[in-house]
Amino acid sequence: MKKFTLLLAAVSLNLAAFVNAETFDFKDPKGVNNVVFRTDAPLESINGTATGVSGTVEFDPANPGSLKGKIVVDAASLRVPNSMMQGHLQGPMWLDVKQFPEISFEAASVDNVKTDGNKTTADVTGTMTIKGVSHKITVPVQLTYLKDKLKDRLPMLQGDLLVIRAKFTVKRSDYGINKGQGEDKVSDDIALELSIAGQSPH
């Protein structure tokens, strides 16, 4: 009976943790969510911004380590300041956005969770998919939980915001992006900087 009571308590705790998790939608009506990419090239580095961000994340402020979810970036939303360069970037040699319209990251596990006030830092391990090629990577992220701040952005809604920031590097050769070509001109390393906010209305 005692064992059964303990089991019931454990299940209840787990359920409570699940119930407290909020689902944040990262499709931003203001179009501010963005991923910046930077890679070295002759003359100057190539910088671009993608704003077509969507996806959902489940986050419990009382248990940040339980975070899970998937962020998707519309590859065709990637912009660079030169239209010819943009054409190349979205073409078959580079991202091939017609055949592979999505870049995604799906979180699987969270480690090294540290919380200070409304800010949490953690290492999130998950599956990164670019140009149809998936790799397991670990990304250091910073989460900022903004309780009841949704109305400050969208006055018609009540709810919370979750801001996710991450900086990490991927190798384009790992994802078959113009693999082995022009690495003397354009670096194999692509630095990515994610700045996104999700909303959880209630």
């Binding site: 203001k30 179009g31 501010v32 969510n33 963005n34 910046v36 003359l43 100057e44 910088n47 911004t49 704003t51 912009r79 300041p81 030169n82 239209s83 010819m84 360069m85 900022t144 903004l146 701040k149 400050d152 952005r153 915001l161 801001v163 700045s195 996104i196 906010a197």
Partner: protein, 82 residues
């Protein structure tokens, strides 16, 4: 014809240099749009907003000067009038 081609070459050199100089002497690639930062006051997320603007870079300068060299060089294909 020789004089005309050399005059054209000179106009191209001056024009290209002046255009590059007065549009900010961009020492990178030519840009067809320019990004400016916008910050969301609640989330403090910064995003680049692009507006269409032509900013010539070193590639534009090189192409212009190459065209001038071509025009000036081809003037030597014509003989001086006797």
């Amino acid at each position: 014809m020789r004089t005309l081609l050399r005059a054209v070459a000179l106009v191209i050199v001056v024009g290209v240099l002046a255009f590059w100089f007065f549009t900010g002497m961009n020492r990178g690639w030519t840009k067809t749009s320019v990004a400016h930062k916008e910050k969301d006051p609640v989330t403090e997320i910064e995003v680049d907003r692009y507006e269409k603007k032509f900013v010539p870079g070193l590639d534009f300068l090189a192409a212009g000067l190459a065209l001038a060299v071509l025009a000036g060089g081809s003037s030597f294909l014509f003989r001086k009038k006797a």
